[in-house]
Symmetry: C2
Subunit: 530 residues, 2 copies
């Protein structure tokens, strides 16, 4: 048996040629077939014949497709793109849509060797964006350049491992979303299996924002010992050429928590705007830490010249809030304008007088101010063809501390998936070298300034304790009784959980938030409305 194995090994060695791959981590555009195909075509043109070029999942049509996957057009267009790519007679793996019997459609990867289609892997373990695809066959094996190759989707890999097929290289394509709390789970899992299967693994992910979703990149090549040998950056397009027979483990610096969020936010914002053909943003600057952080991300994403800060003080605004807001704009070098809300607020109080007369002031009067501010920002946006940046955070959104059609509005929410404590972390990180966020915005007690001397802590628990409960409840799914067991005060927990529950309907209309986690309110986490 030992001799037989040696002969087989020898044969494999003799028949196997050098295997070169080029991994392409691109930023595709959903349903922009021309953009996606020409990007791939360019890459293939520059490639040698003996290089296997690898592109990610659904590269031809982009993703997420949602209900557009239900239309025939998309299959016709994608097929045409695929045929166009075959003309170049190069070798590649690319994500596309495959047609099955009886109008079934698969999320597929096609393997092309020098212009000839050699294999197809159809996704079996369908994910959140695959709702309109049928269940496919999973990972496929193929002989290429004398090597035993397996290729398919990363979601199908665990099933493949169980089949105990011997491979030299496993190629896994993906459209994996950024998750700020991810502890390299994907790398750890693949590393474990690389060692177990004694195989090299190539992982190819796309990069870029699509709507609220951010794809993180980080494509890599791993050796049989599960060590990373080559890696592409997070959040950046790029490619990497690898001679697979000659790879060595390397160390790669990883981004810190804050920088990951920052760069994800910048990429997400930029793509949200540019893929929707909008270049300009308008943002309300209150002097608080949220708007100060949001404007930094906005300026980085769209360019300083494309973002306008609007200061909208009222009689309840403190002097420091105006100064902090100005400083925030000046530190960043963006243009800002000051527009008082007093005239609109006074006119609205006068208008509402028949209704308000004889009643105690309540949220009605407070919300008028927030809505006047929304009105002003949207008027600027409509006039100059810009979109409004929302500045709310996830803590506020969780407990409904915001005004619908007021500060809850905006074309996109920059911080809506970040708890207040994360916003502070981000602010300090942004300020690591010099003061960009006014230090006072970080240090002072948060306030909505909708009445005299108002503090967030008048209505809410302090953010450090609130956020702990929110993370436990929303992210860790720790229920009421478990929270009490962990030592949180019963009354406090009841109050917070009640606020989360009664504000679900409100969250349905808040500005869509860039998704940084698995529990983003506008894309993931849902509670019953009633």
């Amino acid at each position: 048996m030992v001799i037989l194995e040696k002969i087989i090994l020898l044969l494999q060695y003799q028949t196997s040629k050098i295997m070169r791959v080029n991994i392409h981590q691109f930023n595709y555009k959903t349903k922009d077939y021309e953009h996606n195909t020409s990007q791939i075509e360019e890459a293939l043109k520059e490639s040698n014949e003996d290089v296997l070029n690898i592109f990610s999942e659904l590269a031809l049509c982009g993703s997420p497709l949602f209900d557009s996957a239900l239309y025939s057009d998309i299959y016709k267009e994608t097929s045409l793109c695929g045929e166009r790519l075959l003309q170049g007679k190069k070798s590649f793996i690319v994500g596309t849509i495959a047609k099955g019997e009886e109008n079934t459609r698969y999320n597929a990867l096609v393997f092309v060797n020098k212009g000839e289609v050699m294999g197809l892997s159809t996704k079996r373990n369908l994910g959140r964006f695959d709702e309109n695809f049928s269940i496919g066959n999973g990972i496929e094996t193929i002989k290429y350049e004398g090597k035993n190759l397996a290729f398919g989707f990363v979601e199908d890999f665990e099933n493949f491992v169980k089949r105990k097929v011997q491979t030299d290289v496993v190629i896994l394509c993906s459209n994996q979303l950024f998750d700020k709390d991810d502890k390299d789970e994907n790398i750890k899992t693949l590393s474990f299996y690389a060692r177990q299967m004694k195989t090299k693994i190539i992982y190819v992910n796309r990069v870029g924002g699509e709507g609220c979703f951010i794809f993180s990149g980080s494509s890599f090549v791993m050796n049989e010992r599960g060590e990373i040998c080559e890696k592409l950056s997070m959040f950046e397009q790029g490619n990497i050429f690898v001679d697979l027979d000659n790879i060595k483990a390397k160390a790669f610096a990883s981004l810190c928590y804050e920088e990951k969020i920052f760069r994800a936010g910048v990429l997400g914002l930029r793509d949200y705007f540019h893929k929707n053909n909008i270049n300009k943003a308008v943002i309300g600057l209150s002097g608080g830490v949220d708007s100060a952080v949001a404007v930094v991300l906005g300026a980085e994403a769209l360019g300083k010249e494309n973002i306008t800060g609007v200061l909208m003080p009222s009689k309840y605004s403190s002097e420091h809030s105006v100064n902090d807001a100005k400083k925030s704009a000046e530190n960043l070098g963006i243009k800002y304008i000051t527009i008082t809300i007093e005239d609109i607020f006074e006119a609205s109080l006068k208008t509402m007088q028949p209704i308000f007369e004889g009643t105690e002031p309540n949220t009605a009067e407070e919300n008028l101010q927030a809505r006047a501010r929304c009105m002003i920002i949207m008027a600027i946006c409509n006039k100059i063809g810009a979109a409004m940046l929302n500045t709310s955070n996830k803590s506020e959104s969780a407990v409904g501390y915001g005004t619908l059609y007021g500060d809850d509005s905006g074309a996109i929410s920059v911080l809506g998936d970040l708890y207040k404590t994360d916003v502070y972390k981000l602010a300090r990180w942004i300020n690591k070298d010099k003061e960009i966020i006014p230090q006072n915005s970080i240090d002072k007690a948060p306030s909505a300034e909708l009445r005299f001397d108002q503090k967030d802590s008048d209505s809410l628990p302090e953010y450090d304790i609130l956020d702990k409960v929110l993370v436990e409840y929303i992210d860790n799914k720790t229920d009421f009784s478990q929270l009490i067991k962990k030592g949180y005060e019963e009354k406090l927990v009841m109050r917070i959980l009640r606020l989360i529950k009664i504000n679900e309907w409100k969250r349905h209309q808040e500005a869509p938030a860039l998704r940084y986690s698995k529990t983003c309110f506008t894309t993931d986490y849902k509670q019953p409305i009633s």
Copy 2:
């Protein structure tokens, strides 16, 4: 063989007793365990020992659960409710959550015979609300009162049919959503299988609104010839006692298209408000057909005394629009108030003067008016503890003809899943006996009245042609090239499809719409944002 069959039939006849069932079509409340359990407990108390009481899917905890199914509390609570029900020593089938190995949870039906658990069916074909449940075993069979019974979820029935098990009665529980375009598909399918399997079928559905979702009821009993013998009403709670050995085919009147929508809307609205502990609504009355229809549904759902109409004319409002709006309120007998937007509009123009100066009037000025109206309605709502009814329709929403944070806002949209042509149909049906909707609101050309002499048709194709294209594209998934083949004008189709695409981001923030169809924008139909 013939003799053998006869002997078997004879034996079956001798061993089978009379089987009596009581079908309960209840309106459960999500996570209101006490409400659900006591309702069931009451029903069981009144039942004889030899009656099998049937309740629908997830009756103990309600549905949809969304992410609340991820918390342990819900399983503990539901188990306690289940144990409570066993005490009564009655016989019943009820929907609950079952715990499996390794923390798996199933959407389950438990079969209880005189207080003893006799069987469990766990859902295999998981649906849109089952995302946090594991795949179960499907329909189960059981011997009960000498009869061969099968029980389980309607979604699992087709799989069961393939197993060719002989049954006397099949009991199918469900949480099926209302769909205005449904042509009794469910009854037709079950009727076909009843004949094929020569079995009686009992179908039990829940009723009521949960958030935007409306469950329609229509539980029924079908004989072996696939004929309906007993049936509960759509949209109403109720129960029906059936002696299964003595059922006869009957004719049941069905509601017309308009009445189905009307009653679904009333039920949906009422439950949306009451299950959220809100009793009062405020609605803007423009004199147009949309607000005139929406207010009729609102008044029917909440009571005339609980709805306030607000007329908010501007200098662009025609005299007829004010008169029609008044007439709409007066015909209905609801209170209404008139609040001019002129002061807020003038103040906002003055405020925006530094920005607007020297520019051409555009949507910025128009939207200020819509937003001033939203501000006023929300101020009333905040002051009196009411919620705002949105009055937009699906045609407008599809092409983005509305103002975000203006007329697109509201706690719930009554007509957001109805195309304009459906709104007209509903208006005519409401007026069938006497004029409730002012005839002029139905007859006149629709207008947003945000500038002088504005008509919807200035910006949009006429609604009859627009709606045809929308139904083809959104509901039938007819793509661009197929639309052209069907004879629609290329330029027109391109324009409409472009509008649908570029307004996707806007639809994410529109008031959540009561769901009447499979393509409701806020619950079902999604396009990529970019």
